[in-house]
């Protein structure tokens, strides 16, 4: 390569590369977020591949091996009251819990973004009514609402995901609404309007891309919240139903054996805490990385 280069189309792509890496560099500088990504990767990999590596099936009942403490033979995390291998159950439960968390996040973020963008762009009466509905939903303790809904419907992993999404879209709606409000009078929106773009086009093509940063951050934090909510309802017996394991329902029977077999409570609880903490760390890191102002501090 000669030292003098003629500006070529490559510069443009380099520029986006450079910009990308700046966000990435800010993210990598956030040590906790990097730890979070590492922990989630390990958790996901062990939940996906773990069950194939273990000698036990998650449903295999061995009554001779009931209440085996961790590190008994091949039972690395011990066994439960039916002699089922906890490690095998933990990994399979992780698949359910992480999937429920992820899809609940997708649904609630979509719903919250939709409501927020309409409320923010329309403003006026429509906006006021929509945002008051958001406030009304926030007035219910979400666990009460979640349990009431879960008790009324037929619990399946899909329905649990739906009702978790129905009780956790409000934060996203608020964030998107505030973001859209702050940019809807800007020139590029006026330009789009004077060009005769349809409202739906303006909302999706002009406004949404400008709010994508906060949406990603809120979405990451919603995964954490959804995993927690699944754990709460399943622990209380109204979420994912056995024999399908989830991190929450593994803890369901743990309290009565707390004295005899504390590992029944400790193992799934640690998994939940690790997953939720990681997503919270990642969300925090993304907030710093996506906010251009954080370089100025």
């Amino acid at each position: 390569m000669s030292s003098v280069t003629i500006p070529s189309p490559a510069t443009a792509s380099e520029e986006t590369h450079w910009w990308k890496s700046r966000t990435l560099r800010r993210f990598m500088r956030h040590r906790l977020a990097v730890i979070g990504v590492a922990m989630i990767t390990i958790l996901v990999l062990s939940c996906v591949f773990g069950p194939y590596l273990l000698p036990y099936d998650e449903l295999f009942i061995d009554l001779r091996a009931r209440f085996a403490p961790p590190l008994t033979g091949y039972h690395i995390f011990g066994t439960d009251p039916l002699g089922r291998d906890i490690a095998a159950r933990l990994f399979n439960a992780g698949r359910i819990s992480l999937l429920v968390g992820f899809f609940a996040m997708l649904m609630s973020t979509a719903l919250g973004t939709l409501i927020g963008i309409i409320a923010g762009y329309r403003g006026g009466l429509t906006g006021a009514i929509l945002m008051r509905i958001v406030d009304a939903f926030l007035s219910f303790p979400s666990i009460f609402l979640l349990l009431a809904l879960a008790a009324f419907i037929k619990p399946s992993p899909f329905m649990i995901t739906v009702i978790i999404a129905l009780t956790s879209w409000m934060e996203v709606a608020r964030i998107v609404n505030a973001e859209i409000r702050s940019i809807r009078e800007r020139d590029f929106v006026l330009a789009a309007r004077s060009l005769g773009y349809r409202n739906s086009t303006i909302m999706l093509k002009e406004l949404l891309p400008n709010a994508i940063g906060p949406i990603i951050v809120a979405g990451t934090l919603t995964v954490a919240r959804a995993i927690l909510l699944e754990a709460y309802v399943s622990f209380l017996g109204y979420g994912i139903q056995p024999p399908l394991p989830s991190w929450g329902n593994m803890l369901n029977g743990a309290q009565q054996y707390l004295d005899r077999a504390p590992w029944l409570a400790i193992v799934p609880g640690v998994a939940i805490t690790l997953a939720v903490t990681s997503f919270n760390f990642i969300g925090d890191g993304l907030r710093d990385a996506l906010d251009a102002r954080s370089d100025l501090e």
Binding site: S139, L145, F152, L258, A265, V276, T277
Partner: protein, 316 residues
Amino acid sequence: MLSYIVSRLLQSLVLLLLVSIIGFAVLNLAPGGPLSQYALTPGMTQETMDRIAHQMGLDRPLPIQYLDWIWRLLQGDWGKSYRDQLPVLQIISSHLFATLLLMGTSMVISIAVGTWIGVRGATKRYSIFDYTATVGAMVALSIPTFWFGLVAIYVFALRLKWLPAGNMYTVGDGSFMDYATHLILPSLVLALVDIAVWSRYMRTATLDVINQDFVRTARAKGLSERAVLMTHVLRNALIPMITLAGLQLPTILGGALVTETVFTWPGMGRLFLDSLGYHDYPVVMGLLMFSAILVLVGSLIADILVAFVDPRVRLG
């Protein structure tokens, strides 16, 4: 001031209306709607069901049913429990004290500890203490409350045997000390999340105040650092915290439900779960509405308090 209170009151009424519509929608989601109780009775025919539906006015259009429901709600007729035929409002109020005791204690703990951590973190910014508090708060927000409760029971009740594992008092005792020892574990467990939230916001609020001119003036007057902190910084930093306390109410109430379950605490949360188990929908619905009203009233009080302490709010 009066006009502020009136407008804030009207806002709450609008919210209450929306809350009641959501509540009514949930009620009608129940399989078989409010009739589900009768559907389980053996030998029930469709004819009898229809007659009961007519008697209960369930064959009328939904908006009329809603108006009827809300009218009775306003008059204090919240229906009767399927389980023991007692009025719903009476059952709820008999469980209210336990929940308020737990929530109140936990709030006092979290405000005291959270304020201390937040102010210390702000005055010693980027110190090891500040960093530990930041990471600790994020971890604390990620621990499932019920699991933390189980761990606390295992360590302090089962292993160390320092504190009781559950219930509000020992049968036959019920002295002040007895209540107090039973209260320690659940209120600390419930406070964990709130300490985390409170300390984060307190840190930010303190940082906002600490660099303002009147604080510099106070220092320039020669006041001791302690006096500056207590009278000038803390007083101003605590104002936005009143609003936060109101906003945190739904979280604390939800946390109380889970904590009460783990610690067999005889409050509204346990009542809610027991009623769910018995398909006692009038009580479930009553509690859902009651908790929302509690939250609305709480945040209304918080906002009015803020307006009293901070003239900027009522004038702006």
